[in-house]
Amino acid sequence: MTVRSTLFCALLAAATLTSAKADNYKIDPVHSAVLFKVGHFGVGNIYGRFDTFAGDFVFDPSEPAKDSVKLEIITDSVDTNAPDRDKHLKSPDFLNAKQFPTATFKSTAVKKVDDKNYEVTGDFTLRGITKPVTVAVQVIGTGPGPKGEPRLGTESTVTLKRSDFDVKAFLPAVTDEVELRIAVEAIKQ
């Protein structure tokens, strides 16, 4: 083996090691959404969203055990396209946004289901109450963004029981189950 080929092999190994390293991503709020769905009087579903949130995660497809996710949602940013309803949702009847301005999720374990799907278990905190939840995460894709920056897209779903977090107003007319859907584009840091 010549010196040149040895050097080439060393560089290749270094490149491989670098790519296997866990990457840090920061959520791009412009290309992300935190949506929720709740049943209304057994007739239909009401959809809403949180306009302000932030988060980051560590992602290594080869070593999911090292992966982690953090998400912080500003409860005062709830938006259901009905200002009076939003005011009510922010009140102590529901989110109690002035006393509890944030809802947070911090992962405790990540399990790889297949190349595209993961199960992320973590602690979800709402109105000061923390409960373990498992979120189904699907990797939509990876690739360069508009400025060539590496991006990763995921879509996650989890169904929570709002009564677990002491949000009991108008049960059962407004369903206990609330489906959260978190669509994220994150930029590699």
């Binding site: 200002p83 009140s91 102590p92 109690n96």
Partner: protein
């Protein structure tokens, strides 16, 4: 819709009727008047706590939020009110001050820890304590000098009942419903005292009113969107019964009651004007 109506019947109408019957029995009982009021206070507080439990899906223990304290404040007010009933002199003021401070603390504690600067927190705590202290003393003393118990109760019932409507429009439907129940409980007692007039109201009911309604208004303004001006006018509303000639001057008691009720309603009306000017509803039904 059916479940909400059912919840309203069990959470609002049932406790109001129960309190009406039980308070009627107590008022008719062969007991000294000073001993009747603690029982009546306990019935009011118990029915209020029951209503809270139905409308909010249970009583949280230990309380974690300002609103969680409401049933405990109601029961605590009965205890402090009963002590007041049988205390005199400086001890009476001390007991009243402790009750006011404890209530102010339970409502403001979540804001005090790390949200507001300490001096502002202390100012709020002192201000709310003094307002609660002074109001309960004023309603009890000035009311006793100028009004019949029915007149004082009418002022409190109207303020609490319509205060619930204001809380509803101020963003918190559940707090509004709880406040409505409180108003109905007092309204029932007003009707009872009209037909079974006691000589004096005593300190128990005014203290429950001040601490519970004060907490509800504070919760509405601090954590929901009830304008402070509206809360302030509701706070002043029961003092409308102090206007006009004292009850001891004689005259037609029904007419006097009606006029005093109207003065309270004028203040309630002003509170609603303030509410709709400062925080107009968007008119989107949801």
């Amino acid at each position: 819709m059916g479940s909400l109506i059912g919840q309203g019947i069990v959470g609002i109408v049932l406790p109001a009727l129960l309190a009406l019957i039980l308070n009627g029995l107590v008022l008719r009982a062969a007991l000294a008047e000073s001993r009747k009021w603690p029982f009546i206070g306990l019935i009011i507080a118990g029915c209020f706590a029951f209503s809270y439990s139905v409308l909010l899906g249970g009583i949280a223990f230990p309380p974690r939020e300002a609103t969680h304290w409401l049933p405990f404040i109601a029961v605590g007010a009965v205890v402090f009110g009963t002590i007041l009933q049988f205390t005199s002199g400086l001890g009476r003021s001390v007991v009243r001050l402790i009750a006011a401070l404890a209530t102010a603390w339970t409502v403001l504690q979540l804001q005090i820890f790390g949200r507001w600067p300490l001096p502002i927190s202390v100012e709020w705590l002192v201000a709310v304590t003094l307002i609660l202290f002074a109001t309960s003393r004023l309603i009890e003393r000035a009311g006793a000098l100028r009004n019949t118990p029915t007149e004082i109760l009418l002022g409190m019932a109207l303020a609490a009942g319509f205060g619930g409507v204001a809380l509803f429009f101020g963003g918190s439907a559940v707090l509004g419903q709880i406040c409505n129940t409180f108003g109905l409980l007092l309204a029932g007692l007003t009707i009872l005292t009209f037909f079974l007039p006691p000589a004096q109201l005593g300190p128990v009911i005014p203290l429950i009113y001040v601490l519970v309604f004060g907490s509800l208004l504070l919760n509405g303004s601090l954590f929901s969107d009830l304008p402070w001006a509206t809360a302030g006018l509701f706070w002043l509303a029961p003092f409308g019964v102090l206007i006009g000639p004292p009850a001891s001057s004689g005259g037609n008691r029904n007419l006097r009651l009606l006029l005093r009720g109207l003065i309270v309603l004028v203040l309630v009306g002003l509170a609603f004007v303030a509410l709709f000017l400062i925080s107009p509803p968007h008119g989107n039904e949801y």
